[in-house]
């Protein structure tokens, strides 16, 4: 008997007695606020993310400041901002290791958790979400959903091969509970509200 068959045989033999119906999961979204931005921003900041607001009419002012302070490659995969390096057909995931700043658009945001959702289609190369030192994220404020129940109704989880919630930058508190932003992934995550 193959291991697969043996496991299925044991599951059927050892099935616990009793009737355990599958519950219906409510959306728990009876009274969402009209404007979901304040809650999104508050939770994003609590999780270490930043809201990057326009200065002098320039939505990318913070990004340009960061570029000035941290010289290095900028890889943008959005049409709204021009980086100084681009992806080629033969670019490998590890090749993004020397990118200083990545710029990418989120599919949607989640007010409950301050998360933004990326997919393999939006990231082009998945490591763009992790190997750069800093990430700038374009998010259409009209595309913020109230909670995670609403989030999992979005089509991104049934299409493509990869979807991920980023909630602030990478973080760790593995040594004596001291919180450090910038563990193995990006050191900062900055959200720019921009319809698209």
């Amino acid at each position: 008997m193959s291991s697969r068959d043996a496991i299925f045989e044991a599951i059927r033999r050892n099935r616990p007695a009793g009737d355990f119906p599958h519950p219906v999961v409510p959306l728990f979204d009876d009274a969402p606020p009209q404007d979901l931005r304040p809650q999104f921003i508050q939770t994003l900041q609590r999780m270490g993310g930043k809201l990057s607001e326009p200065r002098n009419g320039d939505p990318f002012a913070d990004l340009k400041d960061m570029q000035a302070q941290n010289p290095g490659k900028i890889l943008s995969v959005v049409p709204e901002f021009q980086g100084d390096t681009s992806l080629e057909d033969n670019t490998l995931p590890a090749d993004l290791a020397d990118v200083e700043i990545g710029v990418v658009r989120a599919a949607f945001g989640v007010a409950e958790t301050g998360s933004v959702c990326f997919t393999d289609r939006l990231l082009k190369i998945n490591t763009l979400g992790y190997l750069p030192q800093h990430l700038f994220v374009l998010l259409d404020p009209a595309k913020i959903v109230f909670n995670l129940h609403n989030a999992y109704k979005q089509p991104e989880f049934r299409e493509g091969h990869y979807a991920v919630f980023h909630t602030g930058p990478s973080a760790t508190a593995d040594i004596e509970g001291v919180l450090i932003r910038g563990a193995q992934g990006v050191r900062s995550l900055n959200v720019i509200f921009m319809p698209g």
Partner: protein, 484 residues
Amino acid sequence: MTEKASGITEPQPRGAVIRGNHPVDQSEAAGRFMAAPIHQKMHDARLWDLRQKRDAEMHIIPEWEDLRQLASDIKQHTLTHLDQYLEQFETNAKVNGIHVHWAKDGQEHNSIVLEILKKHGAKKLIKSKSMLTEECDFRHSMAENGISVIETDLGERIQQLDGEMPSHVVVPAVHKLRSDVAQVFSKTLGTDPDNDDVHYLTEQQRETTRPLILDADAGMTGCNFAVAETGTVVVCTNEGNADLSANTPPLHIVSMGIEKVIPRLDDLPVFVRMLSRSALGSPITQYTSHFRGPRKGGEMHIVLVDNGRTTRLGMEKFWTSLKCIRCGACMNTCPVFRRSGGLSYGATYAGPIGLILDPTFNKHKYRNLPFASTMNGSCTNVCPVKINIHEQIADWRKELASVGEIPFAKKAMMKAAGEILASPKLYRAGLPLANSTLRHLPRFMLYNRLNTWGRGREMPHAPRETFHQWYARNRAGKKKDVSE
């Protein structure tokens, strides 16, 4: 920060002594942890802080108790229809181009992974944290076969470099002080032994791990949840290391216990909303990643592992322990765990959940563990999937007694106690004497090696008279007035 060294030199207490199949002496190791006050105090405070953060999160979610009930119901439904959902998961994962393997035990898991790596000529594997691979003793098995395995989670990396098991399912190195980490890193990574600044240590690990990630031939992750309806593997982390492990090398291998499957995408938010809130008191992990298939030019494998789970499914009193989502909330709240450290349990799973999981692997070796509990029930109260942990601990004590796995001293005491408690006459006769004795015994007789209860805490004050004596003195004559 000007001061780079904390100046703390208390040596790290090590975990339980493992002697083959000999029963692990948890209280002996706990005693050594309690004898290291700086470690014990930090450990206790850190975990209690997590418990309080969890409470704060719970209070701002009005539907928290509904979510716990839903999570429990979904898990119980899935576990009683496990064949159906595993088949559905396998079918959908294969449709998406994922290779699916089945392993009866840890050894078979390791040989399947080895075979996949060999086929790709892969020698360097990076991985994220997975309790299942701890069950399988995966790293040792790979080392014997010439595969280099690098843990990429900071806490797990510290434990790997120090040759220790993780002491907690979520924070593997929580029992270590920054000075311990500085010593480990200076010996293994060549860092400054006198610098135990946490920012410095974390940065050193990041910078020394990054080249290994870029150079790896294959990546491995665990699996927090698997959605049958879509064939999706969900991984929750904070450091971004699971996504780097899965997305950087061309080969991604997932190790997954068969109990991780849930039916639908609509079920998933119930668990994602509670996992990190229960574990760390944060609304969600920094990264919640959904893998539905290999990326372009890559290959993805899932190894589904039984390793005792189907046997547990058949245990009438213990099958619901399979609902566990490994959040660690029961550990953070447990007074025994907080004071004794996870390594004192000498087993893959520590704390309350360990007390009921470990004996399913080996009743003899882990026969002392179900006694490492005050039975206060706090573990059950915080469990996001409503496992009746403290009741199962009591049931394990009964089970171990029925199969003769009770240590001699405990057996003799319980026999004597049983005879006295079974006879009201003997009990009432003995109680005033016992109370008086307790008041007058010298301390050394109460707080000695035989009274494990008295280690680290004071005995409660013994009353001057029993309730029966008080009743006879105050109420005896009034009995009729009350009842008629």
